[in-house]
């Protein structure tokens, strides 16, 4: 079949199929666009304060469907939310603001000596946070809506939440054995929770997302000692239940960009992956890896898509990302982090429109240049 015919045939892809093709380094019709809207943006989209939005599962389902319809050219990772579910399940208090994203309001482990006795729940269903979330998902399934994907914080992020981030980072140096013990427990609970969630939706998820920004706080030596082994364990347990493992971090990540595939991840979603801002360098490094993984990002959601006053500047960055990362497939255009409250929705339309214009594939390794058409 000629390339032209193949390209025409591929135009029937929906956003999820497009994403799966890119993840597998096959040729989609065009660069996929993936959106991760934050809870507060979704609450605004629903016209309700965040607290009311989070408490109302029906509203979340209805708003999620409307959001997907509004941005039908993108894969919208809208779900039923339960903020900091794992931290809550492990005993952390969670703040309860009226119209902001809640946050972890205190740590569970006050003394290092408490780590040894720190018990994780037998089941994620039995405790607040994760239990509440699973019940919401169960309810959503009863209404016939399967929420997009599965995802939660990774072991180091959970450990930081229960132990206190600064103490956690300092004790990697001062008390490494204690930190390893804590990480074993956090990993075990993360696996338990995500496995139970996967079972709830039928034993298989297209993608399982793990968000763990702590890697960006660590130098390479600490990444290898404290991050890599626990993420590898997590992936080993969860990979048989999904089509792909997605790692998310908005933090610095250029120092381990060559390792993400070795850990077992299939996709990396980030926004600070280019050493000294050199986007092409990252493409070069990732393209030459033995254990390849797909990239998803790296248009800065906060500093560019939300804050940049000039549409032309935003447009330029989006095109630059498409043209650098698109060739060879294995790329999904996305804001590197969640899409923040206040982000002009026209800029999300702009991302889809620019992917349509500049991101169409001629062959797997080449994009069609619209200026030459």
């Amino acid at each position: 079949m000629s390339e032209e015919k193949k390209s025409k045939k591929a135009k029937t892809l929906d956003p999820a199929q497009r994403m799966l093709k890119a993840m597998a380094f096959l040729k989609p019709d065009r660069v996929p666009v993936v959106f991760f809207p934050e809870f507060d943006l979704m609450a605004d989209f629903a016209g309700k304060p965040v607290k009311k939005y989070l408490a109302d599962v029906d509203l979340q389902i209805e708003t999620g469907e409307r959001f997907k319809e509004r941005f039908s050219g993108a894969y919208c990772a809208v779900s039923i939310y339960q903020p900091y579910a794992t931290a809550q399940a492990l005993g952390c208090p969670i703040s309860d603001p009226e119209d902001e994203i809640p946050a972890v309001a205190g740590h569970v482990i006050k003394q290092t000596s408490e780590v040894e006795k720190f018990k994780i729940p037998e089941s994620a269903w039995d405790v607040p946070g994760t239990g509440d979330w699973l019940k919401k998902i169960e309810y959503s399934l009863e209404t016939g809506i399967k929420p997009a994907g599965i995802g939660e914080f990774g072991p180091l992020e959970i450990a930081g939440q229960v132990y206190g981030y600064d103490k956690f980072l300092l004790d990697m140096r001062k008390k490494p054995k204690i930190i390893h013990k804590l990480l074993e427990k956090c990993t075990e609970f993360a696996i338990k929770f995500l496995s139970e969630w996967t079972e709830l939706i039928g034993g298989y998820s297209t993608v399982i997302l793990i968000a763990d920004h702590v890697s960006g706080f660590l130098n390479k030596k600490l990444v290898n000692e404290f991050f890599a082994p626990y993420h590898k364990n997590l992936i080993e347990a969860l990979k048989p239940m999904c089509g792909g493992m997605l790692y998310h971090s908005e933090n610095r990540s250029y120092h381990f960009i060559d390792q993400i595939g070795d850990w077992g991840y299939n996709i990396f979603h980030g926004q600070d992956w280019a050493p000294k801002g050199d986007l092409k360098k990252t493409k070069e490094i990732v393209s030459n890896l033995d254990n390849k993984y797909a990239l998803m990002g790296q248009v800065p959601g906060r500093d560019v898509v939300l804050r940049e006053p000039n549409d032309k500047v935003v447009e330029k960055q989006i095109i630059e990302n498409i043209q650098i990362y698109g060739p060879g497939s294995g790329y999904m255009l996305s804001t590197g982090g969640g899409i923040n409250r206040g982000t002009p929705l026209r800029r999300l339309d702009m991302m889809i429109k620019l992917a349509d214009k500049y991101g169409r594939y001629k062959t797997k390794n080449k994009l069609i240049n619209p200026e030459e058409e």
Partner: protein
Amino acid sequence: MREELINAMVELEDDLVLNLVKDQLEKRDPLEIFEDLKTSLIKIGDLFEAEEYFLSDLIIAADTFKEASKLMEPYFTKKQDEVKGKILIGTVEGDMHDIGKNIIITLLRSEGFEVVDLGIDVSATEFLEAVKINHPNIVALSGLLTSSKEPMKKTIELIKKEYKDTEKLIFIVGGVAINEDWIKDIGANYGTTNAINGLKIINDAIKNF
């Protein structure tokens, strides 16, 4: 001798730094040792900006600096008993993050500033009340989240409106998301994305005030 200490600190060899400080306190002017440690911190901050060091490195550096300062304390009570300035600090309302705040508190206290720590999730009113009671030279507002911008703005506006000596106050904001526009938009005097740079800014601001 000086180079050995600076290198050990920049290389984050915490045990070695403390041993060198103990040893050198018998042989050198403690203020000179203190200056060397500060020089090291500036180098560490530069390495962070250059993407070679990471937050965990800054935490180790701050902790080592704190421990070294403890060793030097008995010498300083004779030579440096003047408080350099009073700083009121807190993480703004809606934000529970305290890593950056805690690092800079350690550095500021080690360097002779009096610090009043209001903790996390501090409302604008709580900041104002604390300013009225403590009469600081500097109000430092910390926040990791992008949503911290509004509470920072609200806090600065309230203090500027309600506190009679507001011309004598310096406002500094800290957090990874902060940039020049952010500082300007909320009416702060200075801003920083990392604690070590924050220490330098505060030192300069106090000198020039």
